[in-house]
């Protein structure tokens, strides 16, 4: 009970702070200075129609690199903590068979889900979307495969292969930006192209596709570990 009272007092303090924050908020009429620069110069400088993408991939590219690193370390830590069950142990678990209809529709839907994920990250500089959304969609496709056949454990090698190759290529393109263009993760190592087409915005589609593959493989690996987690003893 005492603990609850302490929690309540602490929460009241936080609520007071947040109330101050809310009271001091005034809605703005114009963009802040940095954002105005991005909005004015961004489309011509980088050739990307989606300004969020240009901020994520280029202007704040280092943040994104750090984010991908965090994902990678999370996947490694989970892999370190959870041991996987072997194929035989999975079979012995006695899962209930999935419905035949789910099997058939999985075989039909997973390629479409993957295609949609690819659409989302390839068109990341033209329409909403990009590597993170596309990666999450691709991981959802893998999840559908896991749900339809819980005992199968194929595709582990392809997941780790995609993960490492796309990670290395991402950093490689970033370093290429130092030598061929203005700085790390600069997208102008490729021609900017015509505004509004897929082959435009320099290296942004390539970088975002690599991020998408990386995030997809990373999230799939996390799901894999959680699915096959083995109990101690």
């Amino acid at each position: 009970m005492v603990k609850k009272i302490f929690a309540l007092i602490a929460l009241a303090g936080i609520a007071f702070m947040l109330w101050g924050l809310f009271k001091s908020y005034r809605h703005q009429e114009t963009l802040p200075r940095t954002s105005r620069y991005y909005a004015q110069k961004g489309p011509d400088e980088l050739g990307s129609a989606n300004l969020v993408t240009s901020v994520v991939v280029t202007y704040r590219g280092l943040d994104t690199l750090g984010e991908v690193t965090i994902l990678f370390s999370v996947a490694s830590i989970i892999g370190f903590f959870l041991k996987s069950r072997t194929q035989r142990e999975l079979k012995a678990e006695g899962f209930r068979e999935t419905s035949e209809l789910l099997h058939t529709s999985t075989a039909f839907l997973v390629p479409i889900i993957f295609l949609f994920g690819a659409y989302v990250f390839v068109g990341g500089h033209l329409s909403p979307g990009g590597g993170f959304q596309g990666g999450a969609i691709i991981a959802s496709g893998t999840l559908l495969l896991f749900l339809a056949t819980p005992t199968a454990s194929r595709g582990k090698t392809i997941i780790s292969l995609v993960e490492s190759v796309s990670g290395v290529a991402y950093v490689g393109i970033g370093i290429a930006g130092i030598f061929l263009a203005a700085g790390f993760l600069d997208n102008r190592i490729l021609p900017t192209g015509r505004f509004g087409t897929i082959f435009s915005a320099g290296a942004i589609p390539v970088i975002y596709s690599l991020i998408g593959l990386k995030v997809g493989a990373e999230l799939s690996a996390i799901l894999y570990k959680l699915k096959d987690a083995k109990e101690d003893e």
Binding site: P128, I137, S140, L143, L147, L219, L226
Partner: protein
Amino acid sequence: MIYFWVLTIVICAVMLGSAIMALYHKSLAVTVIAAGLVSLLASILYLILAAPDVAMTEAAIGSGLSTVMFFYVLRRMRGGENG
């Protein structure tokens, strides 16, 4: 834009309600689904606030991935609490 106002107020009220349901419902499985409902409504709110990228991320994550993570853990403690 009176319609968006009404929509925002309705969504915000329902979001707060389902957040409380997510914390206090006695069955753990229901709390996970209620958290999913919070994410669903949040994605409409992002669209009203002109952030389609964020709405899409929330849709891709909230529709399957976060739910399944909770359920993968929940299946282990089936005996622990009324699930």
